[in-house]
């Protein structure tokens, strides 16, 4: 059986698409954070680090508090704190936002392992018991629908939350006054400032929101999909989320489509035992696809005009 027919066979199974959606949500949350942050004009490549921090503190809190909901809040707060560092350094100190983002990612990678070592002494953090994980939730009646039911309505609770957030972020960004302000600040901060919008407040809020969402994704990864923390467990997902954001042209639904494509790659990777192509080559696909998008094959993908440029009140 050829590789193509193996993959085609896999593509018609509901369980594959169930995995695709879960994998996509793991990318969608940080990608939404990236969209919000960059729409406000702050380049954010720190989702990886914020997500990793969230994952670590989710496990620490869950092992200590025995409550996945509180642990998730702790994880979001931890992600938000990392984002606050990025915000202060890049908004207050007007640092290069890419250097700051890299520093956040390195900081998170180092700090989490350092703290594992300080708190648990050994490399093994311990495992949260099944009852203390973020639960799966089957929606009554709807889950009975053949195929669709398994794909959409037998998912982890965070998946539903993420889909609601997807719609919410879209509506806020494009249908509310707040969204208009965020976009104005990202496109032309001087004009926004003149119109009475507090550029700094909007940017701080946007960056911290990206941290909360990335922290939530970290919690989903560590105490939903998995039940423990391992060093560098985000494994580049924050960067794939960054790719998804660009792929989706800085829009929530565009990013979601990209996350689904990348999630499909990951789900096929997870099923690599039934297909016979190197999973490592498959793992390359999201990145290659993003390069192709960036090369302009599928139309230009342009960031917000003031993305990455620190704002100095009163400057022209």
């Amino acid at each position: 059986m050829s590789v193509v027919s193996e993959i085609l066979h896999l593509l018609v199974t509901a369980s594959l698409w169930n995995q695709v959606l879960a994998a996509a949500v793991l990318l969608l949350l940080p990608a939404l954070g990236g969209v919000i942050s960059e729409r406000s004009g702050v380049v954010n490549i720190a989702m990886e680090g914020m997500m990793l921090t969230g994952a670590f503190f989710a496990v620490v809190a869950d092992l200590g508090l025995h409550n996945p909901w509180l642990a998730t809040l702790v994880a979001m707060a931890a992600g938000g704190l990392m984002a606050l560092i990025h915000a202060v350094v890049s908004i207050r100190f007007r640092a290069d936002q890419i250097v700051s983002g890299i520093a956040i990612n390195i900081f998170a990678a180092g700090l989490t392992v350092f703290l594992v070592n300080r708190i648990y002494g050994i490399q093994d953090v311990g495992h949260a018991s099944y009852s203390e994980l973020l639960p799966s939730l089957n929606i009554p009646v709807l889950e009975q629908i053949p195929f669709i039911g398994h794909v959409f309505f037998q998912q982890n609770v965070i998946v539903y939350v993420a889909l609601v957030l997807l719609v919410l972020v879209h509506v806020v960004l494009f249908r509310t006054r707040l969204g208009l302000r965020i976009r104005a600040v990202g496109e032309h901060p001087q004009a926004a400032d003149t119109a009475g919008i507090n550029v700094y407040a909007i940017r701080y809020g946007a960056v911290i929101t990206s941290g909360l969402l990335s922290g939530l994704a970290g919690a989903f990864l560590a105490i939903g999909v998995s039940n423990t923390f391992v060093p560098n467990m985000t494994d580049g997902r924050g960067y794939i989320a960054l790719a998804a954001m660009i792929f989706g042209k800085w829009t929530p639904f565009g990013a979601f489509v990209a996350c689904l494509i990348f999630g499909l790659g990951e789900a096929i990777y997870a099923n690599n035992s039934i297909i016979h192509v190197s999973p490592y080559l498959l793992s390359m696909l999201p990145y290659l696809l993003t390069l192709i998008v960036l090369a302009g094959v599928v139309g230009r993908s342009n960031p917000p005009a003031a993305d990455g440029i620190p704002y100095v009140a009163g400057s022209e």
Binding site: I106, L115, V312
Partner: protein, 415 residues
């Protein structure tokens, strides 16, 4: 920003030579950033119930061979630091050169891996060739592969304006997955079930600087245990080439012109597109050479160790800390080489996770990028806004504005 000169009392100063004063003021920001990072790092260790003095003693022992408590051999530690330093020098230049052109090469890691992969592939398949032919071949192959990897980002930047930060991040991951494919189940795999490649031929290996002799005792150990290899000379030569290229050639002038102002460079007759592509090609060659030398000098085959390699990311910190100059990069590489080497001893002797080094590295990056020191000094006018506070041509400030936004018009006025 303008400190009114009248308020600064004229103090009789010893007349230092102009170069010495320039060096001193240039060193203020990086040295201060490192000190600040170590202070905050100590506070983090202290806050988590550790002993920062023991931790830093371990770092000093493993990095410089000083203050060892567990009978470590100082010479061996220094040798280990040098081994870590070698690839950082070349990868650091792969980040620093594009900085000068206003480009941010985050892809040094991918280019490093591409170089290591090319070196290994050639070293295996032509492994029977004699060293005078094979050694240049594997090194040039590594440079070509690195140049290709970076060139993709350069061409995309120059032709369709794709942001090099994003393309190089993507290329990093492509290289990492390509590496996994090649040595796990792919054509370079040594044997089924292993995650390493076959070793390169003997002719593809760089000689160690000390004779590989078990009977010759140097600093209390057989000279064969010291792994410092001739890649050190290549790295220093590359640093000299970097400085010459940047300051003594037309291309270097064009690179700096494009970095200062693309528009002005264009009016001066410089092809901005060509300069961007050539800059990335040369940068990739530097990083590719680092990867090739790591294989040819130390490892002799690709292993799963390379999955978690961070040379190309450390290089970003090296380039920033070294303020983009050849000497600065060499010094910063020694610092990070010492930190890497010292982290193991720190973990073994003081029980502090070697990851503290990553935390320190991040703190250094924050500190340099945000110019915290400048901010602190501005708050404390009594501390003397000496010339070193922010000289008009402060390399750090110049480097940061260059890196911040390629389109120069409307670039952030940092002060």
């Amino acid at each position: 920003m303008a400190a009114s000169p009248a308020t600064v009392p004229e103090r009789p100063r010893p007349r230092l030579p102009a170069t010495a004063r320039r060096v001193a003021s240039g060193m203020a920001v990086p040295v201060g950033s490192v000190v600040l990072a170590f202070v905050i790092g100590a506070l983090i260790v202290l806050a988590t119930g550790g002993d920062p003095l023991a931790a830093y003693q371990g770092l000093l022992c493993g990095g410089l061979g000083a203050f060892c408590t567990q009978g470590e051999n100082p010479a061996l530690q220094v040798s280990s630091t040098i081994v870590f330093t070698i690839p950082l020098i070349m990868a650091g230049m792969a980040v620093a050169l594009p900085f000068r052109a206003g480009l941010f090469n985050i892809g040094a890691e991918g280019q490093f891996l591409a170089g290591a992969i090319a070196c290994t592939t050639i070293g295996i398949h032509l492994g029977t060739l004699p060293a005078p032919i094979l050694l240049p071949l594997v090194l040039l192959g590594g440079m070509a592969a690195g140049a290709l990897w970076a060139g993709i980002a350069g061409v995309l930047k120059a032709t369709v304006g794709a942001h090099e930060v994003v393309t190089t991040i993507m290329l990093n991951y492509v290289a990492q997955w390509l590496l996994r494919y090649l040595i796990i189940g792919g054509p370079l795999q040594l044997a089924s079930g292993t995650s390493k490649s076959s070793p390169i031929g003997a002719g593809a290996r760089l000689a160690t600087l000390l004779p590989n002799d078990n009977n010759l005792v140097i600093f209390g150990l057989p000279s064969s245990v010291y792994r410092v290899h001739s890649g050190l000379l290549i790295a220093l030569l590359a640093a000299a080439v970097f400085a010459f290229l940047l300051w003594r050639t037309t291309l270097g002038y064009e690179i700096r012109a494009v970095g200062q102002s693309q528009k002005a460079a264009r009016y001066a007759g410089v092809s901005v597109r060509r300069t961007i592509i050539v800059t990335m090609l040369i940068a990739g060659a530097f990083s590719g050479l680092a990867g090739a030398i790591q294989i040819a000098g130390i490892d002799h085959n690709l292993t799963d160790k390379y999955f978690s390699d961070t040379t190309g990311f450390d290089a970003i910190a090296v380039a920033l800390l070294g303020l983009g100059s050849a000497v600065g990069i060499v010094l910063a590489s020694i610092l990070f080489g010492a930190l890497h080497s010292g982290s193991g001893v720190m973990q073994a002797d003081a029980g502090i996770s070697s990851s503290l080094v990553l935390v320190l590295q991040a703190l250094i990056l924050f500190s340099i990028a945000a110019n915290f020191l400048g901010a602190i000094r501005l708050r404390l006018p009594g501390l003397g806004r000496a010339p070193a506070a922010r000289p008009p041509d402060s390399p750090a400030a110049a480097l940061m504005t260059e890196a911040a936004a390629p389109p120069p018009e409307g670039s952030p006025s940092a002060t």
